[in-house]
Subunit: 199 residues, 2 copies
């Protein structure tokens, strides 16, 4: 399927049929997410992958009782990772381990450290979240390309999610992406005109 | 090209060769951007498409003198549109014009109005920006699928951009995406491990 077909086929499924997506397909989707672009390649995301029904049921009330949560095959909880310094250190180690000489990465690492220290805590979360939305895009298009459906969902209570999923302090649930096989039909796409969007 | 190939082929080009992308290819990319997913389908983005060299040259100093700005074919300035209420009204009008009976959209419009009024101005910008990053993802993957290159860029001065491009108050430059033909070679992709990203 070419990319245009993927983009036009993708839709936000409002209810799934409960069937499980084969594990190898889920794994393929996770690879597409993992290879998303991000600012400085900092990959400021962690994704909780929820398959068991009990956890999904527990999250339903914190998701405005939307049926996608309990009818999906897997629920992906995209979290922004605000511990940016830890990611900078991981990148530095990966480059060192890959045999890149220090002169080849020091400027890049120093630039990231300077950037990181220019932000306050709220800004770090905001920055990390922006990258999460690039990865979300790969999840949505990726699902369509692999033959199943998805639904980007912002309507949930991140404080409750953090509590129920016992997330560490640095992880901030940013957006949900249940995946599965849609039990509904896509509606025709409605978009603002080209003249309205581009100038 | 299948989606996995697109994701693996895409890279952040650090310099372009200056050649122009044919207009019909640029138009295809803009359609891929326009059909991106967004929260409530609110499409809180506007994209300034810059082709003329004079404007690109003017923006160079406000982009940390990065050569992508002046060597690209087209520079896309992705702006977050914080006038969310205006977009809600446009969606309402589109539904009405499409012949949807009022009962079919009133609940949806009212929910969006309630959500919009729950945000302050800073939150509106943050929310609009998050959607912009989904559209950015379609631009990056879209460029690779159409046979040219791109570079997501956060290193620029949005205040200066707003002044130089004479943007209205509600538009906030969020991220740049120069497109063109890369004059550099992609480096091997480096990503955190699967075990590190998914939990």
């Amino acid at each position: 399927m070419d990319f245009k077909e993927i983009v036009m086929k993708r839709y936000a499924s409002k209810e799934f049929d409960g069937k499980k997506i084969p594990q190898e397909k889920v794994d393929e989707l996770l690879e597409l997410i993992r290879y998303s672009a991000s600012s400085f390649n900092l990959q400021t995301w962690k994704v909780k992958v929820i398959e068991d029904q009990e956890t999904k049921d527990k999250l339903l009330a914190a998701s405005m009782n939307q049926p996608q949560i309990t009818t999906c095959s897997h629920l992906l909880v995209f979290c922004a990772d605000a511990n940016i310094m830890s990611n900078i250190k991981k990148i530095e180690k990966m480059m060192k381990d890959a045999g890149v000489p220090e002169a080849g990465y020091k400027g890049y690492i120093d630039m990231m450290i300077g950037f990181e220290s220019s932000m306050n805590d709220a800004k770090r979360v905001e920055y990390a979240k922006e990258q999460v939305f690039i990865a979300l895009g790969n999840a949505l298009n990726g699902a369509a390309s692999l033959g199943f459906d998805s639904c980007p969902m912002g309507g949930f209570n991140p404080v409750e999610f953090k509590k129920i999923l016992e997330l560490p302090e640095n992880l901030h649930p940013a957006v949900l992406c249940p995946i599965g096989y849609g039990a509904d039909e896509p509606k025709p796409k409605m978009r603002f005109s080209k003249e309205d969007v581009f100038f």
